[in-house]
Every structure is written in structure tokens, then in C-alpha cells.
């Protein structure tokens, strides 16, 4: 049984992981797509890369905002049989 904070953390982690995997896979499988300049004459490689950095910060803020400061129980040790 995971704590509320841990559940939120894992959901946000899964979302970021998807976006990161997308970036890595485009680079590996279709690198020419990264040369496409969708907006303002700046290519996708820069937009996506900067976007990943900005997204990390935004998601960190969201996590900080929605986490319960009193939710301090250790996940994994709860209900463990060791």
C-alpha cells in the first residue's frame, strides 16, 4: 500500500518518463525529425530539449503543491513481512 505522496510521485514520474522516452526514441529512430523547425525558426531538438527541462521544473512545482506535508509514512515497509 503506497502513501498518497508516493502515488502522486509515481504518476508524475510515469508521465515524465513517457515524454523523456519520446525524446530519446525520436533521436534514435528518426533523427531528421529533430531538424524540423516548427516555430520561430528554432528546431524541434531545441524546443523538445528546453521543454523537457521546463517540464521537470513545472512538474516539481506541481508535486510540491499537491503533496501532503503530513504524509510521512514509509512506502514499502508498510505491511512488509521482513
Amino acid at each position: 500500500m503506497l502513501t498518497r505522496n508516493a502515488r502522486i510521485g509515481l504518476m508524475l514520474f510515469a508521465f515524465y518518463l513517457l515524454v523523456y522516452v519520446g525524446y530519446v526514441l525520436i533521436n534514435a529512430l528518426d533523427p531528421e525529425l529533430m531538424e524540423w523547425t516548427p516555430i520561430a525558426g528554432v528546431n524541434l531538438a531545441i524546443w523538445y530539449g528546453m521543454g523537457l527541462i521546463a517540464l521537470a521544473f513545472v512538474m516539481a512545482l506541481i508535486y510540491g503543491y499537491v503533496c501532503d506535508p503530513h504524509d510521512e509514512q514509509t512506502p514499502g515497509t508498510k505491511g512488509g513481512d521482513q
Partner: protein, 660 residues
């Protein structure tokens, strides 16, 4: 000349070191117990701890290595920035709070919280030492790289200097002073990088044909292919360059021809010049523009003396010229004036930049010559991934090259949350919420800095200040091109960067010895004062080992070495950490086996990899028994599988058996 020793730089540098040491001595009085020494009594404010995260994390590899890689090959260095930052997501969302709740002083505490097993502590302690030592090597190499041009000392003096200062810092005060040094360094690094970026944008771009010393690299041509090839081959004994009565090609071994490099001798001055052949298209079938000879630079060792561009090197007088310029701007402009955050990239995208390649050859007399040659490159190519050899897998059709790239990006993603010197910083704040908040501050500072790396790297690429022989100095030399003051401050910050990161690493290692390994070696439990004393002795020992390794590994690529540390950390530590937190079937034997297998397999893979064959042993990388160099994609899953299998096999035994 590129490096003129300046009194200002030395004074600013000494002032930084004096303040750092003064702070350490002052704060050292507050940390007498082991709780104070290892974890600063858990009383560091979360904001300070967050910026200190940035101080710990933004090592020589981040500041010097990434900026250098971007300055020399373009976008690819930014892939490291992205991977390094993304790793913090694992740290924040998965690791931060549980680490704080489970542990006390060290990473092994957290893994061992459920089991109280000496086996777990021993294995994790050894893994902490191994990762920290791997991470220490590039930091010490970076110290030597910095001190050489700044103070004019040889490499080994720089390494010994950093090692000694850091040992003093760590032995004096432990985590309290290390944290404040990191806070100071993290703040200064971000603030001055912002200043540097603002100056790059305000300066904009301009077309040039040379570097900041005013020397303009010559271009000869266009030539038609056939007459040029005949002259190079010595058409009936005539080596005269077409249309250049004074210049004649020098006969050179075939390897030069294959590398599209030539040398000429001036019949009047006897000056020898190295050139690269270049055209807008393929050299064999150039478009209407024909073929050009672009002036290159060369360093030759003749009778144990270094010759630069055909003449004996005289430091400060006859040396390599600084490089890095734009050949063409969009719409025939010669300068852009100040640029915005986006127009900086869009302008570069449509420009042509001169990058520099290098090739090691032997001349006709058998002397070793390194040629540095111009590579005019479209901006669109500079700003796309896959140009640097480290990331060649992106554009390769070969599956193993692709896997190598995926493996590196996986190790960067998983490595951050497994680095011992980062993990111990969760114990310097009071609770899980403070750990979470400080990680958010850390992500903000580190992310902001990584955004700046792209501007600083590309700014350095076009600054005319680069040293073709040393990519690690790109950021400090960029600052030097702006102002002597800025160079002095940036170099001093870079040096403090090394100091800070090395302090954290030595402290993590000392904690592992005093806290985790001592319980295994000494039969009776050490008291508080004994633990601190043992940690201080360990700090001196680890510092001494780091000094020796830093001298031995001189010349190795700093970022490459950091990649090793990330791979070992991710393979050894992450599976155990994640499974302990999220799978209640985890047993102590499973943890011990996973850490051991992850550490040994990743280390073995690295030592057998093609990169190590080439760069460390000087062997042919094709003889390497492993299919690609980066181990993460194999050894991280191997750690998880090992933990799962061993835990299943030992589960009942552990539940029933006594705790060891």
C-alpha cells in the same frame, strides 16, 4: 595568445580559495558529533540545501565538459544536460522522501533500514566507495586542466592543490561547511552564468575569418580539381600550388591525402603551412564553387621540442591561435547586433559556423603531427543531435550504435538518483517535506543552469576565444573574450566547483568507511568521536588516492569519465533502492546480490568496452568483447533481475532465520 597569466586572475582565484577555507574553519567549530559531521545535525534550511544540491551536482563535467562539448560539436553536449536533469525527476518523485525517512547518515543506512544486515552495509559501502572514486577522477583531472592555464602550474600541481584544499575542508568541518561551500558555489555559478549568457545575447553574432587575437585564417582558391590533384602529386616534379608561384606542396605520407590535408612551403620565407581541402559539396565532384584550401593549425613534436604551425613554440609569443567564428550570417549580414532568446538560435540555424576537427598523423620524417583543421558547417547541422562521436549512434544505421546511445541516456536518467554524494544530502534537512522542497529548489537551479549551457556553449563556439587543443576550457575562455574580470571570476568559480564536488564525494566515501564498513571490520561498535576520527582519517586516505588517480588519468575526457560513474551508480544502487521501496518481497540477500552484480557487471563491461580499449589501453576497439561501450541498458535490468530472483530464492529463509 590564448593564455596570458594575469595578476587579476590569480588574485581573484586566491580570494575565492581564502573565503572557502575561512568559511570551513569558521563552521567547523559547530560540527563535533557524528550527526554534525555527516549530516549537519539535519538542520540545514531546505532552500540552502536545494542550492547546495546544485553545487554538488554541477561538477566540472557539467560546467567545463558540457560547455566544451557544445562549443566544439554543437547540440550534442546539450543531450548530457537533458539526461542529467531528467535524472532529478527520479530523485524527486521516487527517491527523495523515502530516503530521508529510511536513513540516518549514509545511503547504506536507507538500504539497510529494514534488515540490520552487515552484508548489506558492506556491499553498499564498497559500492559507495567505487562510485565516489570513479566520480572523483574526472573532478581531479578537471582541477589540473583549470590550474594549468590559470596559474601556469603543471597538471600535477593543480591536482595536488585541489586535493590538499579539499582534505582540509572535509577534515575541518564535514557536512556543515561542505554544504555552505556548495551553496556559495551553486549560487555564484548560476548568477555568473546568467551574466555571461546576457553578455552573449547582447553581443550577438558577426562574421569573421579568425579568432580573438586578430589573426585571419587564409583561404586559397577556388581551384579546379584535376590541376590541384596533379600539383599535389608532383606533376613531373612540379609541386607548385596552381596560381601561387611561391607556394609548393610538400610530399607527405598517403595518410595525409586520405585525411584531405596538405602542407605547403613558401619558397621565400620557408614558412610551412598546413591546409585542409574543402568544398561546398563532395571533394570528388565539387559544385560550381570548386575546391578551396583552408588554413589549418599544426602541433608537431620534433626532437622532443614542440613546434606550432611549423616553428618552435614560444609561450605567449608564437603559439596556436584562438578559434571559433561564423563564416556567413543569413541575408549577407556581417553582424546582427543584440539577439533575443529565440533569435539567437534561429539566426545560428541559418548561418555557417567554422568548427574544428583534429587528426594525428606522421610527417615525411616520421615526426608526430596533430593537425587542427577548419570544418565549415551549416548552422542547421550544428543545432541537430548526432554530430559528436559520443552520440554517433543517433545517425548510425548500426543497431549496436543505437543501443549505445539508448544505454547512455538510460544511465544518465537513472544515475542521478543513485549517486552517493547526492543521496547523503537528503540527511542534512530536518524531514521528508524539507527533502522534497530542497529537491525542487535543486531542480530549478540545475535546470536553469542547463538551459544556459546551450547559450554559453554556442556563444563560446562563435567567440573566437577557443583553444583547439582543450575543449574543457571553452567556458572560461569565452568569459576571457568578454572581460578579464569575468574570466578571473568564472575560472575561480570553476575551481570552487571542483572543490565543492570533490568535498562532497570525499565526505560520502568517508561516511561509507566510518559508518558502513567499520561495523564489518571492527568487532565492537565505535563511539561517536571514534567514528568522526575514522571518517577524517578516511578522508585523508581517499583524498590521497584521488590525487594519485587525478595525475594518472591526465588527458582523459572529463565527460566520458563521468559517464562511467553514472553507469556504475545506476547499475549498482538503483535496482536495490527502487525494489526496497516498492516491492515488499525484497530480501537482504537480494539487495546484497543486486548491488554486487550491478557494480561488478557494469565495471567489467566498462573495462572491456571499445572506448576503454581505445582511450585507456591504446588497443584496437574492434577487439573489445562487448558489443557497445555503455553498459546501462544491460547492467541496470540485470540488477533488477538479480534482486528479484535472489529475493524469491531466499524469501522464506530470511523470514524464518535470525537477523545477522
Amino acid at each position: 595568445m590564448i593564455y596570458d597569466r594575469s595578476l587579476l586572475s590569480i588574485l581573484v582565484f586566491l580570494a575565492f580559495v581564502a573565503v572557502t577555507l575561512g568559511l570551513s574553519f569558521y563552521l567547523g567549530r559547530k560540527a563535533k558529533s557524528s550527526a554534525g559531521y555527516f549530516a549537519a545535525h539535519g538542520q540545514i534550511p531546505w532552500f540552502v540545501n536545494g542550492v547546495a544540491f546544485a553545487g554538488d551536482y554541477l561538477s566540472a563535467a557539467s560546467f567545463l565538459g558540457i560547455c566544451g562539448m557544445i562549443a566544439f560539436s554543437g547540440y550534442d553536449g546539450f543531450l548530457y544536460s537533458i539526461g542529467y536533469l531528467a535524472g532529478w525527476i527520479v530523485a524527486l518523485f521516487v527517491i527523495a522522501e523515502p530516503m530521508k525517512r529510511l536513513g540516518k547518515f549514509t545511503f547504506a543506512d536507507a538500504l539497510d533500514a529494514k534488515f540490520q544486515s552487515r552484508g548489506v552495509k558492506l556491499t553498499v559501502g564498497i559500492s559507495t566507495l567505487a562510485v565516489s572514486l570513479f566520480y572523483l577522477i574526472p573532478q581531479m583531472v578537471g582541477a589540473g586542466v583549470l590550474v594549468t592555464p590559470l596559474l601556469g602550474f603543471p597538471h600535477w600541481v593543480g591536482v595536488v592543490l585541489v586535493g590538499s584544499i579539499v582534505i582540509l575542508i572535509v577534515v575541518t568541518a564535514g557536512m556543515v561547511s561542505t554544504t555552505w561551500v556548495q551553496f556559495l558555489k551553486g549560487s555564484l555559478l548560476v548568477v555568473f552564468s546568467t551574466v555571461l549568457t546576457a553578455m552573449i545575447l547582447a553581443r550577438g553574432f558577426e562574421t569573421k575569418s579568425g579568432g580573438a587575437d586578430g589573426y585571419e585564417f587564409r583561404t586559397l582558391g577556388p581551384f579546379e580539381v584535376v590541376p590541384l590533384a596533379m600539383a599535389m602529386a608532383g606533376n613531373e616534379g612540379d609541386f607548385t600550388v596552381p596560381g601561387q608561384t611561391r607556394l609548393a606542396f610538400r610530399p607527405l605520407p598517403a595518410a595525409w591525402n586520405e585525411a584531405k590535408l596538405v602542407q605547403t612551403i613558401d619558397s621565400e620565407t620557408e614558412e610551412i603551412t598546413t591546409w585542409s581541402l574543402w568544398s561546398n559539396g563532395k571533394l570528388e565532384s565539387p559544385p560550381e564553387g570548386g575546391v578551396y584550401l583552408l588554413e589549418a593549425q599544426s602541433v608537431a613534436v620534433i626532437d622532443d621540442k614542440t613546434h606550432v604551425n611549423g616553428k618552435p613554440q614560444v609561450l605567449g609569443k608564437h603559439d596556436l591561435h584562438p578559434v571559433g567564428h561564423i563564416r556567413e550570417l543569413p541575408d549577407g549580414q556581417t553582424e546582427t547586433g543584440s539577439l533575443g532568446l529565440l533569435t539567437f538560435f534561429s539566426t545560428l540555424q541559418q548561418s555557417e559556423v567554422v568548427l574544428w576537427g583534429n587528426k594525428k598523423l606522421k610527417d615525411a620524417d616520421g615526426n608526430d603531427v596533430t593537425v587542427y583543421f577548419q570544418k565549415p558547417t551549416p548552422g542547421s547541422q550544428v543545432l541537430r543531435p548526432g554530430e559528436n562521436p559520443t552520440f554517433a549512434g543517433i545517425r548510425s544505421k548500426n543497431l549496436s550504435d543505437k543501443l549505445n546511445f539508448l544505454s547512455l541516456m538510460l544511465a544518465l536518467f537513472c544515475g542521478t538518483a543513485s549517486l552517493p554524494h547526492i543521496l547523503i544530502r537528503y540527511y542534512t534537512v530536518k524531514d521528508g517535506a524539507a527533502a522534497r522542497k530542497s529537491t525542487i529548489v535543486g531542480i530549478a537551479s540545475i535546470g536553469f543552469f542547463y538551459v544556459l549551457t546551450l547559450y554559453m556553449g554556442l556563444g563560446a563556439m562563435t567567440s573566437g576565444s577557443l583553444d583547439v587543443t582543450n575543449s574543457n576550457m571553452a567556458a572560461p575562455l569565452l568569459a576571457k573574450g568578454m572581460s578579464e574580470w569575468l574570466f578571473a571570476v568564472i575560472s575561480a568559480i570553476a575551481f570552487t566547483t571542483v572543490l565543492g564536488t570533490v568535498s562532497g564525494l570525499i565526505l560520502a566515501s568517508a561516511g561509507a568507511v566510518a559508518h558502513d564498513l567499520s561495523g564489518f571490520v571492527f568487532k565492537q561498535k565505535l563511539n561517536d568521536a571514534e567514528k568522526v576520527r575514522l571518517a577524517k582519517i578516511s578522508s585523508v586516505a581517499v583524498g590521497a588516492i584521488a590525487i594519485v588517480l587525478g595525475i594518472l588519468f591526465k588527458g582523459m575526457n572529463v565527460t566520458f569519465l563521468v559517464g562511467w560513474a553514472f553507469s556504475v551508480a545506476a547499475s549498482a544502487n538503483l535496482p536495490a533502492l527502487v525494489m526496497l521501496l516498492f516491492w515488499k518481497g525484497t530480501t537482504k540477500q537480494g539487495i546484497t546480490a543486486a548491488v554486487f552484480v550491478g557494480m561488478v557487471s557494469s565495471l567489467t563491461w566498462i573495462l572491456l568496452s571499445g572506448d576503454t580499449y581505445k582511450d585507456v589501453y591504446g588497443l584496437d576497439p574492434k577487439d573489445s568483447p562487448v558489443p557497445f561501450s555503455q553498459p546501462g541498458i544491460v547492467t541496470i535490468p540485470l540488477g533488477f533481475v538479480t534482486l528479484w530472483v535472489v529475493s524469491l530464492l531466499t524469501r522464506n529463509k530470511t523470514s524464518a532465520g535470525p537477523r545477522t
